[in-house]
Symmetry: C2
Subunit: 322 residues, 2 copies
């Protein structure tokens, strides 16, 4: 039985996410009223997930809800920001209550985990499409940006990129893998972990930061370009997970770590003189990041073999399993 827009909002979204004292007026009026703290800059981002483009048709609704928020949390993480308030624009072909209930649960538990209040939104009828707008804040002048890097900075990445692209390929039946690896990799696609705490902890330590959503090689290249530099990655230094190795072998696993999308890890630059402090404050074993290369003078992004020779790559992670 179709529900009216109003009933939909009431039933599934009014009390999702965190209750926050700085929400003066949430869902239910023409707009939300929010009280930002003093001495901050606001941080605002939006990302859309389209059915059949950003997730396979028939994806678990809880995963769609999780990912719609996670991709935005990842953008705020890359700025070193504290997330606070979300708006949800949900376009649905029909008001399927079990779909909505699972979607709201996936969205809601990630929102709770990061202290995010759902303060407004819009539900419309049409082809399945989810847009989340996320607002947060950062102490004035302390945001991480893509453009703060300089030649000589060391470059790091969190987690083990490539996992999500392999998970998507498994979802799509384009890849096979042992059962255990399969479960892990699918989970990395369906429920990525935005590195919000890492991003905030990198303030004052990293010189530049970007989230790895379109593939590490391309995104590291964007950070470098914004920093008026180029980037040099070392192939054998690229971190890859055991499940990815089990599924693809070492060479293909590292290639996918470079070009696969949907990881939502952070790639960040650190001045040479700040590396010791980084390692002391945020022990790599605890925070899960790895040095993968450096910013260099020559523009563009290159990947080096152990013998110093340059590897050739195209950026098209999506076509890996076509």
């Amino acid at each position: 039985m179709p529900l009216s827009e109003f009933a939909l909002i009431e039933r599934y979204f009014r009390h999702r996410g965190m209750a926050r004292a700085d929400v003066i007026l949430g869902v239910g009026d023409d707009a939300a009223l929010l009280q930002p703290p003093a001495n901050v800059e606001l941080v605002a981002t939006t990302d859309t997930l389209v059915a059949g483009v950003h997730f396979p048709d028939g994806s678990p609704p809880a995963s769609i809800g999780h990912r719609a928020l996670a991709v935005n949390l990842s953008d705020l993480a890359a700025m070193g920001a504290q997330p606070a308030w979300a708006l949800l624009a949900l376009t649905l072909p029909e008001a399927d209550e079990s779909w909505l209930s699972e979607f709201a649960a996936g969205f809601g538990s990630l929102a709770q985990a990061h202290g995010v209040a759902l303060v407004g939104g819009d539900t419309t009828r049409g082809p399945l499409c989810v847009t989340v707008e996320l607002l947060g804040h950062v102490p004035r002048g302390c945001a991480l940006t893509r453009g703060g890097g300089a030649t000589g900075d060391a470059l790091f990445v969190s987690g083990t990129p490539g996992d999500a692209a392999a998970g998507l390929a498994l979802e799509q039946g384009k890849l096979s893998a042992p059962a255990e690896a399969r479960a892990y990799l699918r989970e990395r696609f369906l429920r990525p972990t935005p590195r919000v705490a890492l991003g905030q902890s990198l303030r004052g330590c990293a010189s530049a930061c970007i989230d790895v959503s379109d593939g590490l090689l391309g995104d590291a290249g964007k950070l470098a370009a914004a920093s008026q530099a180029g980037v040099e990655l070392v192939f054998s230094d690229l971190p890859v997970s055991q499940p990815l190795l089990a599924a693809l072998g070492e060479q293909r696993a590292r290639e996918l770590a470079l070009t696969g999308g949907d990881d939502y890890e952070l790639c960040f630059a650190v001045r040479a003189q700040d590396i010791a402090r980084l390692n002391a404050t945020l022990p790599p074993s605890q925070w899960g990041y790895t040095r993968i290369g450096s910013l260099r003078t020559a523009p563009g992004a290159v990947v080096l073999r152990d013998d110093g020779s340059v590897m050739e790559f195209s950026h098209s992670g999506y076509q890996h399993f076509a």
Copy 2:
């Protein structure tokens, strides 16, 4: 020739809207950085337009760009807020450059007119769908809400509701009208005027406010319900435009003023003791609003004839010309 997402953003959206000194970092990083003024509350809203649902397929792209921002400006107007920053999530079936150029022009000129900077967004491939998120601010404690009204308050509406619904019906070939009326009414649908200045001027004067997007009768009912009251409208007091009268005659014009959607006018309540000040500060002839009824004790929304008898209405403005 298809453009990459990056090129699209660069070419059509980077410099759209107003340049604002409070935009520390706009389009081009993982998120935007914004500097809110001191002593304000943030006001945040989002609305989506879906092709074939919120506008007919083949609508002029400039109108889609205008309306996508206008519907959000209208939400901020209803809160008495000053708009500042917009994010645009644009899902497109293809990167048609002439479509994009016209869309961006429609969006951009309305943004300029209201001092709104476009600070970020996301472009994705998929069925045509436009979501705008608009942020603004209001002096602390001064926002208008739906819930501030009380029994006995006078109820007003800006402009001449019903025009946009007639314009849409003309667009869809479901209504005919004399040429002059036709041009006016189509324009009211294609390029509605959000009442941003009126909303701000009503702060401290109106007790409650809502924007009329789903039909005056229904939206006035929502304001009344949020104010723990009912609403009584006087049929013969409903303002209707000359072109609407020319197209529909008096009875049907007033019916459409009650139930038609897409007007983006403001409906607001004013305490009896504040009406003289309202009329003095904001002369109705200059600001274009009309008293249409009152809030009353009994819940629900009713419309009275001149003889005091109650008219029956369904809310389904969309089915008027089916």
